[in-house]
């Protein structure tokens, strides 16, 4: 049983750099939380503070019922997977796995049983006698996972464990980690800069930027209801299109207009935008919520195709609308289309996002 609680957590490096700012976060027992953000956003520092590898400037960290602020890493009952595997190079895989348990003075018989279990789970049996240098990156990372499992800790910490692997292996390991968490439900914190990893692995996703938490929510929440423009742009691939538009209302109908673009807005969006009459706002449209062809009345616009990216399963279009670049995703792969074509693009009604240009907070009610 180990929930993690961070309250008013801060990290200063000297007087100049404030790496982590007032982070509050409650992670419940057995939950898998992904910390995601661009590099330098403080996510790794936060993780290292939970691990005890980094001092806390102010605030509290609790694991279970204990405040662990001043506990050394070895007393926190955690295990950690590192980006570059961090296997003990001079020891065999077996000794790597046994290291933590031997430090706890566990009997060799028990150690062997624990390693057997982990090796079964991760398919490590043939590797046990080898040295880390004789393993591929994927194998090394599996050994690193095994090293965590055998200790049976309260908390798993992952520091960008998949970044050094190639794309295919990364997808495999993602599934492996997910399977592992299902088999051994343990409170886990997973740091990554890859929003796909965060979305696929996390029960909840924590998005950070410049040391501050931007939003905490389930993958669906952060995708559907981003807390601000940054989150909206960070989550989702390809990234959300942002266009600076002006709100107009002719009679009863509300429209948003930009160079080469005029879209009708209805329902809750129109009510929320009423306060912004004749003012600029930022419109966000996810590429997957745009489609080729005439849609609902007033929801379409003309676009000029600049780049065609054929993915086999779909086409990504980079288009130009007036002075704005707009990406359109999910275009059927068979569509005959070429650079320089003029196309009609329609937005799915109700799937547009609007942000205040100053606060960058969502306007949509």
């Amino acid at each position: 049983m180990a929930a993690i609680s961070l309250s008013k957590l801060n990290k200063h490096y000297g007087s100049l750099f404030h790496a982590v700012k007032d982070v509050d976060l409650e992670i419940s027992d057995k939950e898998f939380v992904a910390l995601v953000g661009p590099s330098g956003c403080g996510k790794s520092t936060t993780l290292r503070m939970i691990a005890g590898l980094e001092d806390i400037s102010s605030g509290d960290i609790r694991i279970g019922n204990r405040v662990v602020n001043d506990l050394p890493p070895r007393d926190r009952d955690i295990a950690m997977v590192f980006q570059n595997y961090a296997l003990y190079q001079h020891m065999s895989v077996y000794d790597n796995l046994a290291f933590g348990l031997r430090n706890k003075k566990t009997s060799e018989a028990e150690i062997k049983a624990a390693i057997d279990r982990a090796a079964n789970m991760l398919g490590l049996h043939e590797l046990l006698a080898r040295k880390p240098k004789q393993l591929s990156g994927g194998q090394q990372q599996r050994v690193a996972l095994g090293r965590c499992i055998v200790r049976n800790p309260e908390v798993f910490l992952f520091d960008e464990p998949l970044s050094n692997l190639d794309a295919k292996l990364r997808a495999q390991m993602r599934i492996e980690i997910k399977r592992l968490h299902a088999a051994i439900p343990t409170t886990s914190v997973f740091v990554t800069h890859d929003q796909v990893e965060a979305m696929t692995l996390g029960d909840r996703v924590v998005i950070m930027r410049d040391g501050r938490v931007q939003q905490v929510g389930t993958p669906l929440q952060v995708y559907g209801k981003p807390a601000n423009k940054f989150v909206a742009g960070f989550i989702g691939a390809p990234a959300m299109n942002f266009v600076s538009v002006t709100v107009r209302s002719d009679g009863g109908a509300t429209t948003v207009e930009a160079d080469g673009l005029k879209l009708a807005v209805g329902g809750a969006d129109a009510r929320a935008l009423a306060a912004y009459h004749d003012k600029p706002v930022i419109m966000g449209a996810r590429p997957e919520h745009l489609a080729l062809g005439e849609g609902a009345p007033g929801a379409s616009f003309d676009a000029h195709v600049e780049v065609v990216e054929q993915l086999g399963s779909e086409i990504l279009l980079e288009t130009r609308v007036g002075s704005h670049g707009i990406t359109v995703a999910r275009v059927p792969a068979e569509t005959v289309i070429a650079r320089g074509d003029q196309v009609r693009v329609s937005a799915q009604p109700g799937r547009l996002h609007f942000f205040d240009p100053e606060t960058e907070l969502p306007i949509t009610g």
């Binding site: 590898l53 190079q89 290291f99 090293r147």
Partner: protein, 278 residues
């Protein structure tokens, strides 16, 4: 890729002549380094009357070696040099490894001050240490003792080799030590059980360098020792007397002094190469 097969190495020439040129150059370089040693060995094997005509005579003898080996002073100089080299290596490694580790891993004021100190001492020319050291050893009663020679050597090693060691540790990923700390080690435990074993090739390389440095050292040995703790490098030079130069004896001593150094370098070479590559 071997240099001879690189396309940009004298591109105008055909391959065989590139190879020949390369071989000639290698031979030239080797010869330049090996020639004095060769001459030294020849001299040591010549009778005293023949040392000025090393290249002409046909008479060879081991008499010089016999004479040198029966001289107690020279034998004890050998033992002293070996002992002091070994002790200096052990003591300086104890400090250098941890000091290099500190310089590599910690960024606090202590580390910065230590770095600065080493830097300053490294900048001082080697020769200008000697006279102050002479006075200090005199006044502390350490002149012409093992300790009096050992301490300065260890100090020099620390200044010169802490930097090398820092470089080695910089090349070793610290997350291994973090993993060890999470796995139940203290900071010291992580250093001793994970960092040191990973740095072992580098440490072996450093041991070889330390040992050779002290074995070959002349200046400290000359100034800081007298008759009680003769060192081989000093004894070798003492064949220059007012009665004349005993070249053959000097050469025989030098050849013998070469042997341990040669062996250490030979067996240590693989560590040195591996260590310096980390």
């Amino acid at each position: 890729m071997p240099i001879v097969s690189r396309p940009d190495f004298l591109p105008g020439l055909p391959k065989w002549s590139r190879k020949t040129l390369f071989a000639l150059a290698l031979f030239g370089i080797c010869f330049a380094f090996a020639f004095p040693v060769l001459w030294l060995i020849l001299t040591s094997l010549r009778p005293e009357s023949g040392v000025y005509y090393v290249h002409r005579g046909t008479e060879f003898t081991l008499a010089s070696f016999a004479e040198v080996l029966t001289d107690d002073r020279i034998v004890s100089a050998f033992l002293n040099s070996a002992l002091i080299s070994t002790l200096a290596t052990i003591f300086s490694l104890l400090v250098t490894v941890s000091s290099g580790y500190m310089l590599s891993r910690f960024t606090g004021p202590a580390s910065r001050i230590w770095f600065g100190t080493i830097y300053v001492f490294r900048c001082i020319p080697y020769i200008s240490w000697v006279l102050p050291l002479y006075f200090v050893t005199q006044s502390w009663g350490l002149y012409d003792t093992y300790t009096g020679l050992l301490l300065p050597h260890v100090a020099v090693h620390i200044c010169f080799f802490s930097w090398l060691m820092k470089g080695f540790f910089d090349g070793i990923d610290p997350s291994m030590e973090y993993a060890a700390m999470i796995d139940g080690c203290t900071r010291w435990g992580a250093f001793i059980r994970v960092a040191i074993p990973s740095a072992l090739p580098a440490i072996s390389a450093l041991a070889v360098l330390c040992w050779l440095f002290t074995w070959n050292e002349f200046l400290f040995a000359l100034i800081l020792t007298g008759n009680r703790v003769p060192m081989i490098t000093v004894v070798m030079a003492q064949f220059v007397t007012e009665m004349g130069l005993r070249w053959n004896l000097m050469a025989a001593t030098a050849v013998m002094a070469l042997v341990p150094a040669f062996l250490v370098a030979l067996f240590g070479q693989k560590y040195v190469i591996r260590g310096l590559r980390i």
